[in-house]
């Protein structure tokens, strides 16, 4: 799955490289800037991956955490070892978060590498108008990766909870991914404005503050608080469900 994520920036870079010219203002943000500066490959790839590819892969990993072990029957042997139910949940959740870190870093690193390979790389003009060197720009991309990882942390907790509800991993994965889509759809309906700040996908694209000089952390903080809330609520639900669950698989 990490390979599939790495393929996104590669695909974008190769397509842009092969096409004669990219009309400005069309396609995903940053796309039209790639030919001038390869640094924008990673940024473009991240924008493309956030709504679907990342929730898809993270949903698969998070949905599989407990249900996958139950489906294989290994859950009963882990518990008899004894792994401890709380410890098992914590380790499984940390595993999902590690995947989120790896997934976002893979996009940034693969994007930077292919960008440097196919396009000129140079100083980048930030959204605030300041220009920073390529090294500083790469650092900003890693910050974005961290932001997106945090964005996915609450979603992963939702997946963990769903995973404790069933012994069929495919069902848990599908339900988790569907929730990510549903959350984004609800977030796009203006009639539901009151609900928007509570949706886990609400701040997913709000990493622009990290691309200004100086960096402002407001949206990072708001996002982190929301995700921590999701982690607390769905972590507790997962614990409540799993601690007393009969393991009959």
């Amino acid at each position: 799955m990490l390979a599939a994520l790495a393929a996104i920036p590669v695909l974008i870079a190769v397509v842009v490289r092969l096409s004669a010219h990219v009309p400005p203002g069309r396609g995903p943000v940053f796309l039209d800037r790639i030919t001038q500066n390869g640094m924008f490959v990673a940024a473009t790839a991240m924008v493309v991956a956030i709504p679907l590819f990342l929730p898809l892969t993270v949903g698969v990993v998070a949905g599989d955490t407990v249900a996958g072990e139950a489906g294989m029957g290994t859950l009963r042997y882990l518990l008899v070892a004894p792994a401890g139910r709380i410890r098992l949940l914590v380790v499984k959740y940390l595993g999902a978060v590690v995947f989120c870190v790896a997934a976002t870093l893979v996009i940034v690193l693969a994007g930077s590498a292919i960008g440097a390979l196919l396009f000129p790389v140079g100083p980048v003009t930030l959204l605030s108008g300041d220009t920073v060197g390529a090294g500083q720009a790469e650092w900003r991309l890693v910050l974005v990766a961290a932001y997106v990882t945090v964005s996915l942390a609450g979603f992963a907790a939702v997946g963990l909870f769903i995973s404790t509800l069933t012994d069929a991993p495919v069902g848990a994965m599908a339900a988790t991914v569907v929730l990510a889509i549903a959350s984004q759809v609800l977030d796009s309906l203006p009639q539901l404005a009151w609900l928007h700040p509570w949706l886990f996908s609400h701040y997913w694209f709000d990493f622009a503050d990290l691309l200004r000089q100086p960096v402002t952390w407001d949206s990072f903080g708001a996002n982190a608080v929301l995700q921590a809330g999701y982690l607390a609520v769905f972590g507790a639900l997962a614990y409540g469900r799993f601690a007393s669950k009969d393991v009959l698989s």
């Binding site: 294989m72 029957g73 290994t74 009963r76 042997y77 882990l78 518990l79 008899v80 070892a81 004894p82 792994a83 401890g84 410890r87 098992l88 007393s244 009969d246 393991v247 009959l248």
Partner: protein, 333 residues
């Protein structure tokens, strides 16, 4: 046999300590009663055969012993401590095979055991490699240890499951149908493994629906039927509780039945013994108030029944098992 706590059926002085003890253990799945209030008493150091037909509640009981499922009612104590509350201190001392082995197919046998051993936060990592290899050796899997489990045969997986139960020195082994899928050689190895565990002082709780297996390796047995524990004790006690039987070998089976019925017995034609030219077997439990067996022969002969063989036999464990669980093949719901 009254399975009250303390009355464990052992002959030693005083009540023996119990490795597994349940009181009024009930498990309900919705409306279905899987386990209907059982009082198990498994003495420490015994090899306890947990017998019962398919669907009689053996695996469900084992899941409750291992804190995988919570009892609907009743209490469970394993190695003297309440379950599921004390699972943290109890389970490291228990090796288990529950309803068949389960492993990650994409990992090798050895890697699977490493992972399962590491699942217990308190298992010493320093000795892990040595313990894994010793367990693999004990079940004869050393040569296949590097193979992916996906490429294992059913019997190899079963052996790996038993190896997992042997990863640490255990005080109690809970083995749910350990010989399932094993070849005759493997079955014998499991038997000798169970014996060697028993001589090391490990209590072995082994579920099975194979009576012969239990008769060969067990010191004690409990018999389940439709979620109820219908008997438990030493094998000798279980045999003794089986009623003695009159067995008549005769070609005149119908007439023999008539005579026996007139004498107040309840005869039946044994279906397990084929009827041929020499006739078949008619058997009947000896009534409580028994007369002289020779009188029965005299009555038979007086009525013109040609008796080819006559015996009064103690019930075998098999008769007892059939008597307790029913002869039919239907799964009791």
């Amino acid at each position: 046999m009254s399975p009250s706590p303390g009355d464990t059926g052992t002959t030693g002085p005083g009540p023996a300590a119990l490795a597994v003890e349940t009181h009024g253990l009930v498990k309900r799945f919705g409306h279905q009663l899987a386990v209907g209030g059982i009082d198990l008493a498994v003495p420490q150091g015994s090899v306890f055969g947990f017998l019962g037909p398919n669907g009689s509640g053996k695996t469900t009981t084992i899941r409750m012993l291992l804190a995988l499922a919570a009892p609907t009612h009743g209490a469970v104590a394993v190695l003297g401590q309440d379950m599921p509350r004390s699972f943290r201190t109890v389970l490291p001392r228990v090796g288990a095979l529950v309803e068949g082995p389960a492993f990650y197919p994409f990992l090798s046998g050895r890697a699977n055991l490493h992972r399962l051993d590491a699942a217990d936060a308190n298992s010493p990592a320093g000795t892990r490699a040595a313990r894994v290899d010793a367990a693999l050796d004990r079940v004869g899997l050393t040569h296949a240890a590097g193979k992916k489990v996906r490429a294992y045969s059913l019997g190899m997986k079963q052996r790996l499951g038993i190896a997992n139960a042997l990863l640490a020195p255990r005080e109690l082994m809970v083995l749910d149908e350990p010989t399932n899928g094993l070849d005759p050689q493997g079955t014998r190895e499991v038997r000798s493994l169970v014996r060697s565990l028993a001589t090391e002082g490990t209590t072995v709780f082994v579920s099975s629906h194979l009576l012969a297996e239990v008769e060969q390796i067990c010191t004690h047995a409990g018999i389940m039927r439709a979620g109820l524990l219908v008997a438990q004790g030493t094998l000798a006690e279980l045999r003794r509780d089986g009623r003695e039987q009159v067995r008549v070998l005769t070609p005149d089976m119908a007439r023999a039945c008539g005579v026996l019925a007139r004498l107040g017995l309840v005869p039946e034609i044994a279906v397990s013994v084929p009827t041929d030219d020499d006739g078949g077997l008619v058997r009947a439990p000896v009534p409580e108030r028994r007369g002289e067996p020779a009188d029965i022969v005299a009555a038979l002969v007086a009525d013109g029944v040609r008796v080819r063989g006559f015996a009064v036999e103690a019930g075998s464990l098999e008769d007892r098992f059939v008597e307790l669980t029913g002869e039919g093949f239907e799964v009791v719901e």
